[in-house]
């Protein structure tokens, strides 16, 4: 656009000041500075706000980019949601690596550093209690899959199915019925075996951990696919960092103890699944 003639000293319209707020990642105990670098927006660096024994970690973001409205809109695009979730997770992970972190849920914002300090002040007791409970612990995710056919083969080997030895000479009709009966018995045995195995895995691994949270398998199964395999356990374990190796060895041992088992481990995570909702607020 051409500038209007004359008025060389005309003042330019000031740019509108973009509204910012503090995007929160986690709460930790106070301590040495954690160098995390840039936060959610890739520009503003992560800073910490202290109150009492606690520190909140956050970075300034534009409300237009990270406010509730903006996030709701952006989260509808799977790639955007992935980007947001991974950035949030990366920052939380770096903080947690330095010292035990209570992660905030994706998209938690407060007005500014003063508000963050007030947040710590008002929830100081319960937050400190959670940090004490989870101190020095990581979360590990474990998914156990079983190859149904291998399990079936192993079961048949230990206890043959009725009529499977072929010693009886029978008519075609009776043979069909026997095959049907054998198949349904095998399905029942396999189901019972896998369900017992799932409980056993959860209990054995829980004995190497502080706490366990089992996930509903129908929900977990939605996103976890292994060709030819069935998800039999999806759980999060809270493990003291000094016991990580023992826990991972336990997973490995369990997977190797039965034919057709396959275990996937993720972690170490901040203790997302073990943080209790903290309800504070002004007394």
């Amino acid at each position: 656009m051409t500038a209007p003639a004359g008025g060389h000293d005309r003042r330019q319209e000031p740019l509108p000041v973009a509204e910012t707020c503090l995007y929160l990642y986690a709460v930790t105990r106070g301590g040495a500075a954690v160098d995390v670098g840039a936060g959610m927006d890739g520009r503003s660096s992560v800073r910490s706000v202290a109150w009492g024994e606690l520190e909140a970690h956050g970075s300034f973001v534009l409300v237009d980019e990270f406010g509730a409205e903006a996030l709701r809109h952006r989260a509808q695009d799977p790639q955007e949601l992935e980007e947001l979730a991974r950035r949030h997770q990366r920052v939380v992970e770096q903080i947690h690596r330095a010292r035990t972190a209570l992660p905030f849920k994706l998209g938690t914002l407060c007005a500014d550093e003063r508000a963050a300090a007030q947040l710590l002040e008002q929830n100081h007791g319960p937050l400190l209690e959670e940090l004490t409970r989870l101190d020095g612990c990581d979360e590990w995710g474990v998914k156990l899959f079983a190859d149904r056919r291998q399990v079936e083969a192993a079961l048949v080997e230990t206890a043959p199915l009725p009529g499977s030895d072929g010693s009886e000479a029978v008519g075609a009709g009776r043979a069909f019925l026997m095959r049907k009966r054998a198949a349904s018995e095998l399905a029942a045995r396999t189901g019972a075996f896998l369900s017992a195995l799932s409980t056993q895995a959860s209990e054995e691994l829980a004995s190497l951990a502080e706490e366990v949270r089992r996930e509903d398998l129908t929900v977990a199964g939605l996103g976890a696919h292994q060709p030819g395999a069935e998800l039999i356990l999806s759980a999060a374990f809270l493990v003291p960092r000094r016991r990580s190796e023992g826990f991972l060895d336990g997973v490995r041992r369990f997977a190797a103890s039965k034919p057709g088992l396959r275990a996937f481990v993720s972690g170490p995570w901040a203790p997302y699944s073990f943080v209790r909702v903290v309800e504070g607020g002004p007394p």
Binding site: L81, Q89, K105, L109, A116, L119, D249, R252, L261, V275
Partner: protein, 74 residues
């Protein structure tokens, strides 16, 4: 790190594992100070079904940090 816990096949942690945690869990503080918590939960539940196809495009990554690996080969 001992050989026993060396990932056999580490790759970037799956999106599903990340979403399960960062969207679904974490500290929620009630009160006026937190101005907004994104209401992305419902979108996320619908997404879970789509996610497995996204997972296949993920690239390899090694090093510290959240990784997913198979602890025992077939």
């Amino acid at each position: 790190m001992s050989a026993a816990v060396e990932p056999l096949e580490a790759r970037e942690v799956t999106l599903l594992d990340v979403l399960d945690r960062v969207v679904d869990k974490g500290v929620v503080l009630a009160g006026d100070l937190t101005i907004s918590v994104a209401d992305v939960d419902l979108i996320y539940v619908g997404l879970k079904v789509l996610v497995s196809s996204v997972e296949r495009m993920e690239s390899l990554r090694r090093g510290w940090g959240s990784a997913v690996w198979e602890v025992e080969p077939w």
